[in-house]
Amino acid sequence: MNDEPLLELDSIHAYYGLSHVLQGVSLKVQPGSVVSLMGRNGVGKSTTLKSVFGIVRVTRGRVVFRGEDMTGLAAHVVARRGIALVPEDRRIFSSLTVRENILLAAGSRAGAVDEVLAWFPTLKGYLGRTGDRLSGGEQQMLAIARALVARPALVLIDEPLEGLAPIIAERIAQALHGLRGKTTVVLVEQNLKWLMDVADYHYVMDHGRIVQHGTSAWLRANPALVEQYLGVAA
């Protein structure tokens, strides 16, 4: 890995109304890595991802991507710089077909649909189907494919396994393994075992701050810490 991080959050703060949700989050994501953001519900994991795009306004601190300060830029500008977000609730456009959802994200690039079908062959039979007629698993595959097809340098994925059957989770894990070294990924997910298999490095959040960070081996070696901050056994 390079020493220069692809993404750096430098002590960022954010609010929901009067609620101080992010209280100085700092982390670094190295190019080509798969990084997880862990923590109990409501500690600010999803807000951290949204703050990268400015969907949640960063009131203090800096979001630095490829050495450039992105703080305060419009979300579409951040996306055009090479960051993609797969939101927690997928947000597939229900009135657009699967093909249209893909092409919307891919722009005018030829071969985009074939590329998606190589990652998720299941979607082949649904290209003409509108988003509201897909199952949860199909929607999640499409949401991830829609983010990847833009060929971003960094993908932020929020709760990819929520409500999905184990077999779908396995397919998504395979797709993420396939990206290893090609695209940098930041994952927010509650499934600890799955995360330790998929991610290289982990940041643990609590009360709007990063409280611990380390590799999967380090997490396994610290079950008490996992119990304290995540409430589950490692």
């Binding site: 979300a75 579409h76 993609a84 456009f93 919307l104 994200a105 833009a150």
Partner: protein, 290 residues
């Protein structure tokens, strides 16, 4: 009540519906799809009629007027969107209503200052001065042309929205602007484009309506209420709903003349009320998120 009189009223209703469709399609794009409560739409229709009258008078060429007036009004629409609407994009519909209603009043007063309060009769284009016969009913050729223009506009808009990338982008922004932004779409630019297109459609309706209804400053006030009724009754964002609701209200007003005479407008509004009782979200529901 003869078959001929019923057919005649039906055809009159069809041409009126065509004007409603053109104006309401523009409002469907702006209000139904982009969720902007735009009360300048009526005055943009009037501006279209005035620009059409101006160009037709200056050049003697109706076709040039038909093409140029929507372009001019589309540009005015862009100016309105940038100055009065975009800064209020995150505000409530009440604020949007007050702002756009204020702009509409300013534009209407500007029309009165420049063109006066008089009504201007607009000559029919010579190519459509005659009549066309339908089952022994002689029907003005110009009204047939209006129906054809509306059908063409519907087909063009339908193709644009469902078969092109621009249409997919517009539908995506309409449904979930934040997600569209995350996919690198400049939603502000899309809003401007849609507002310009919607304004141009209103103007097209105004140019086409001018030879039938004449041109006068308050002509937009009368149409804006109908247009909002049509757009909401059809289902926000639904092109086919807009077409169907336009047909219902126009035909109720036209055919209703035969049945209930001067109360036909009451019949038309009552039918719209019935539509809302049966379909609270409009006939075709619409796709925009609440």
């Amino acid at each position: 009540m003869s078959f001929q009189s019923i057919l005649n009223q039906f055809l009159l209703g069809l041409s009126t519906a065509s004007i409603y469709v053109l104006v309401s399609l523009g409002l469907t794009m702006i209000f139904g799809m982009m969720n902007v409560l735009n009360f300048t739409h009526g005055v943009l229709y009037a501006l279209g009629a005035y620009f059409g009258y101006l160009f037709a008078t200056l050049t003697g060429n109706f076709w040039l007027a038909l093409a140029a007036a929507p372009v001019c009004v589309g540009l005015i629409g862009i100016a309105i969107e940038r100055t009065a609407i975009r800064p209020l994009a995150e505000r409530s519909h009440l604020i949007q209503f007050l702002a756009t209603y204020g702009v509409a009043l300013v534009i209407e007063q500007a029309i009165r200052i420049v063109a006066g309060n008089d009504s201007y009769p607009v000559a029919l284009p010579s190519a459509f001065a005659g009549s066309v016969s339908f089952a022994s009913v002689a029907f003005p050729a110009y009204r047939v042309f209006i129906v054809a223009a509306a059908v063409l506009a519907c087909i063009a808009l339908g193709v644009l929205l469902t078969k092109t990338r621009v249409g997919a982008v517009i539908r995506a922004v309409s449904e979930d602007p934040e997600m569209a932004t995350l996919l690198r779409v400049n939603t502000g630019a899309v809003s401007t484009l849609v507002f310009a297109g919607g304004s141009a459609l209103a103007a097209l309706g105004g140019v086409l309506a001018a030879p039938i209804f004449s041109v006068y400053p308050s002509m937009g006030e009368e149409l804006i209420t109908v247009a909002f009724l049509v757009v909401t009754a059809g289902g926000l964002g639904s092109v086919r709903g807009t077409i169907l609701a336009s047909l219902i209200i126009a035909e109720a007003g036209s055919l209703g003349l035969l049945a209930v005479g001067k109360y036909s407008d009451v019949l038309a509004i009552s039918l719209m009320a019935a539509v809302f009782v049966v379909f609270p979200a409009g006939i075709f529901g619409g796709w925009r998120r609440a």
